[in-house]
């Protein structure tokens, strides 16, 4: 989700990412904003994203995260896998209904 957000929005800071995820989920997914940071660090360690300090739209210093080429590849792969998994689950659910 973090990667997807970054792909859609371009470089973004932690707060923005958390906000965005909440928005996209239609506020159905309410998360502690703090918990986004370990996830970001993890992705950074995996070289899917890189970070640098920048200035936000309202002139605050913030750390911006940006997707890398590896991150994009990783995202495509993950997306594919998720779709696959979701469609399989969906079929199971459908099969159950038709019984």
């Amino acid at each position: 989700m973090v990667l997807k957000t970054l792909e859609a929005m371009g470089p973004l800071h932690g707060y923005g990412i958390a906000r965005r995820i909440e928005q996209i989920s239609g506020d159905r997914l309410s998360l502690n904003y703090g918990s986004i940071y370990p996830a970001l660090l993890r992705l950074e360690q995996e070289r899917a994203i890189v970070s640098e300090w920048g200035v936000s739209e309202n002139n605050r210093k913030a750390k911006y995260y940006r997707l890398t080429a590896a991150g994009r590849r990783f995202l495509r792969q993950e997306t594919h896998e998720w779709r696959e998994a979701a469609s399989i689950v969906a079929r199971f659910l459908a099969a159950k209904e038709s019984l």
Partner: protein, 879 residues
């Protein structure tokens, strides 16, 4: 790939912790500020905006901790923490740490050292490509069942022609030559090889080439030199090919240089010459057996097939040449077995011994650890109560033993390096003569693995016991900290140590009894204060027998006039040096021997006064005199007592006519004297019938001088050397040794093993005693209150002592019995090294446990005495 990056990132995360923490705080702060700004923009009060933002963020500290944990490797940090803790613990307890580390260093050091030697000799591939296809081919003397007899050139050529199993078979022998360049001369080891030998060993010269078939057949004056000679005599000059060297005062042309690490059969050969032997129908008539032969199997041919075919060839030759080959067979042996065959049993025994020593060392450290841990049980229990997981405690304890293991191992490796060079210096020559022993990275890796493994092995059981704590019980146990399991294990460990020590003691005992028996053997001569050295006169300048006779007679005369010299003489081969020319003997008036039943005798050629100089008693008749040492005199012989008994059946020997086949023409000659027997080869073998020639009738160019001296024989060496140089400037004097050294070398194998086993068993004994002392001292401390009560109730000191000693005696006696049983089962391994006693020598098997029990009593007495001195008041107050 992802995981690798992550690992690296986390690894670097170990450093720059504070900078990262600051950055993280700044990031969180900016996050909050943006959130607050948004909230205010959405119309909240600043205060509420802040609260809302904080709430939405969740626990700030928890998030920080979570990020920190992601950023580095927690396990590594705990490990470092454990390491620091372990080091601190060991520093605080230097006695424990030193004992444990030294035990391990001793155990690991000695095992690595012996393993190094064993690995080099037994396991490592020989330095020839395809070495597993290489074989030595020997003749078998079927009458004496000697399977490593050198080969008759006549037979060798027939093998070469008739076999279909060898890709190639070559002949060679080792000898010495005098290398010179007109200015200096040096005696060096040399090897004469047929043209097949170097190619079948796949030797690649670094310069030039090897001998061709034609060059060998023509016995061309060509030489290959060693890398050492190339460097020392030619300064590594690339133009060495085609240059001349003087070998035995004859010019030879250098055609090649062999690589630095090349050796075969003898390690320090510097010169290779052609064998120059050609097939000829009368080889069996003119020559005996003297050639070594090496072969390479054809691909796909097994040793069994090769042996089968060669046995067949041997049988055909036996029929074809009954005079010469009756009762002779052929033995095809893998090269390695030939090179290390004799040392294998002693090496395996030593390897077993060091494993036992290592086991004792491990048991000892486990024992120390158990004692240490049971003293810390309360600490463990408290930490457990405070929430430390058992695995965490276990890991901490294991870290400590790993530290011990690695420090001990490191020290052990240093020890092993020293020990290996010591071993090689101390080792019998035959052990290191033909195979190189090196200490390399492979050994180092094995040593590190060994120390890590041992530390886990000895650390795991104590750690398991220590960390298994019933919290409640541990906290309640006041003075009874030790658990039953811990104490039982410690007793077992001590019993095990005792058993291993008994095995080692028994082995050392057997070898020492052998040594004593060997030293008690009468060698048949008096080796004290005798100097020996070898001089070879080159046949180029001393081709005429008369010249050789003159040189040696003159040299002997001059040597005997040196101030500290009582008498001087010379002999072709010293007794015990392993070489002995054996040839056929005929006795006048007897029918010729049936094929294969020749009378065989060792033949030596001597100068006058040889027997007096070496202290060999003259039993009958007279010695050779200077008047005999003239070529024109009639042949006369001196024989030994065994010759008289075996071949003359006790008939009057003097003036009997005999003939000993040495050269083309051997006239009969009269026996003029009988001398006492001297052992041949090694001391544990029976003397052989021997015939002595006077030098003028068997004019060897290579003789060993023997000088009986009035003082330390080696102190005469320099003046003797000057005397020889005075006669002929170019003659090198080599192998300068005291005769006692020569005799001692015959039991070097036993001495070597005995000294090593003795030091191992002493070390094991010491360790076992430390273990026993530790267990008893600990139990005395534990039982201080009980003992105090006993004393208060009127127990005599000696009964307290007895109580403690008896509690130790259980372990010692059980261990000794097990040890004796195991030693009896294992002692067969030493059989080939023993002399004068059987592998189940009762004296050894009674005395070794006795020695151990006596020492154990001393070890047990010390804590017992302390127990007996316990004052009841103090004891009861310790609670």
């Amino acid at each position: 790939m992802k995981t690798v990056w992550r690992f690296l990132a986390r690894l670097t995360g170990l450093f720059g912790k504070s900078r990262r923490d600051r950055e993280m705080a700044a990031e969180f702060e900016s996050h909050l500020q943006m959130h607050i700004d948004d909230n205010i923009r959405a119309g909240m009060e600043p205060e509420r905006a802040r609260r809302e933002a904080l709430m939405k963020f969740g626990g700030m500290e928890a998030a920080k901790e979570s990020v920190r944990e992601t950023s580095r490797m927690i396990w590594l940090e705990t490990a470092l923490q454990d390491l620091r803790y372990a080091l601190r613990g060991l520093r605080l307890n230097p006695g424990f740490a030193t004992t444990a580390i030294l035990s391990l260093a001793l155990g690991i050091g000695s095992s690595v050292a012996i393993y190094t030697v064993a690995d080099n000799l037994l396991l490592r591939p020989l330095p020839y490509p395809g070495a597993s296809e290489l074989a030595m081919v020997w003749e078998i003397n079927l009458r004496t069942n000697y399977v490593h007899n050198v080969v008759s050139p006549g037979n060798y050529f027939d093998w070469q022609q008739q076999n279909t199993v060898f890709e190639n078979i070559g002949g060679f022998f080792d000898f010495h030559v005098v290398l010179g360049d007109g200015r200096r001369s040096e005696e060096v080891d040399a090897q004469a090889v047929s043209s097949e030998v170097l190619p079948l060993l796949r030797a690649q010269p670094v310069r030039g080439r090897v001998f061709t078939y034609q060059e060998n057949a023509a016995n061309a004056r060509l030489a290959l030199i060693s890398y050492r000679v190339w460097q020392n005599w030619f300064n590594g000059d690339d133009g060495v090919i085609g240059r001349q060297v003087q070998i035995n005062s004859r010019p030879f042309t250098v055609i090649g240089v062999l690589p630095q690490d090349f050796y075969f059969h003898v390690r320090e050969v510097d010169i290779w010459l052609t064998l120059g032997l050609n097939p000829s129908p009368d080889l069996r008539k003119k020559q005996g057996r003297w050639l070594f032969s090496v072969a390479r199997l054809k691909p796909g041919v097994s040793f069994k097939q090769a042996q089968a075919e060669m046995t067949g060839i041997g049988q055909r030759l036996e029929l074809a040449y009954p005079q010469f080959d009756k009762n002779w067979g052929i033995n095809v042996e893998p090269l390695r077995d030939s090179l290390v065959g004799q040392v294998k049993p002693s090496l395996l025994a030593l390897l077993g011994a060091v494993i036992l020593l290592l086991a004792v060392a491990c048991a000892n450290v486990a024992n120390l650890l158990l004692a240490r841990y049971s003293a810390r049980r309360r600490e463990m229990a408290v930490r457990g109560a405070l929430g430390a997981a058992r695995l965490r405690l276990l890991r901490q304890l294991l870290t400590e033993s790993l530290v011990l293991g690695l420090v001990g191992g490191g020290l052990g490796i240093a020890l092993a390096r020293l020990a290996v060079s010591g071993l090689v210096a101390l080792a019998p020559k035959e052990l290191t003569r033909s195979v190189q022993v090196t200490f390399d990275v492979r050994i180092l890796i094995i040593a590190v693995i060994l120390s890590a493994l041992t530390s886990v092995v000895f650390g795991l059981a104590p750690a398991l016991i220590a960390s298994r704590g019933n919290l409640n019980r541990a906290l309640h146990e006041e003075s009874h900290q030790g658990t039953g399991a811990g104490n039982r294990l410690r007793s077992w460990l001590v019993a095990g140590e005792v058993a291993c020590s008994v095995i080692l003691l028994a082995g050392a005992g057997l070898l020492f009894r052998t040594l004593i028996a060997l030293q008690a053997v009468d060698p048949g001569l008096n080796s004290n204060q005798v100097l020996t050295f070898r001089v070879t006169v080159p046949s180029a300048r001393y081709g005429e027998p008369q010249k050789r006779v003159e040189f040696f007679a003159k040299a002997t005369e001059q040597l005997s006039q040196l101030p500290a010299v009582r008498s001087a003489s010379a002999v072709s081969y010293l007794p015990f040096n392993g070489l002995g020319a054996g040839y056929g003997v005929e006795i006048a008036g007897r029918p010729p021997a049936r094929p294969g039943e020749h009378l065989v005798a060792a033949i030596r050629t001597v100068l006058p006064d040889y027997f007096r100089t070496l202290g060999i008693p003259l039993k009958q008749g007279r010695d050779f005199t200077v008047a005999d040492d003239v070529i024109a005199t009639p042949y006369r012989f001196i024989v030994n007592e065994t010759f008289v008994q075996q071949y003359l059946q006790g008939e009057e020997p003097l003036s009997k006519q005999i003939k000993a086949h040495m050269e083309d023409e051997d006239p009969f000659g009269e026996i003029i004297g009988v001398v006492g027997d001297v052992k041949e080869g090694t001391l544990d073998q029976a003397p052989k019938p021997t015939v002595y020639y006077i030098h003028s009738h068997l004019t060897y160019g290579q003789m060993v001088f023997v000088l009986r001296t009035a003082q330390d024989p080696l102190s005469v060496a320099e003046s003797a050397r000057r005397t020889i140089k005075g006669l002929d400037r170019e003659l090198p004097v080599s192998d300068v040794r005291a005769m006692t050294t020569v005799v001692r070398q015959t039991f070097a194998r036993q001495e070597f093993s005995a000294v090593l086993l003795a030091s191992f068993s002493l070390a094991a004994l010491l360790l076992a005693m430390i273990g026993l002392y530790g267990v008893l001292a600990y139990s005395v401390t534990q039982r201080t209150r009980e003992i105090g009560v006993r004393v208060a109730l009127g127990a005599e000191p000696w009964s307290i002592i007895r109580m403690v000693v008896v509690s130790g005696a259980h372990m010692v006696i059980a261990g000794s019995l097990a040890g004796v049983a195991a030693a009896l089962a294992l002692s067969g391994l030493l059989k080939s090294l023993l002399y004068g006693i059987g592998p189940r020598d009762p004296l050894t098997f009674i005395s070794s446990p006795v020695v151990l029990i006596v020492v154990a009593l001393v070890a047990a007495y010390l804590p017992a005495r302390r127990a007996a001195r316990v004052s009841p008041v103090v004891a009861l107050r310790t609670e």
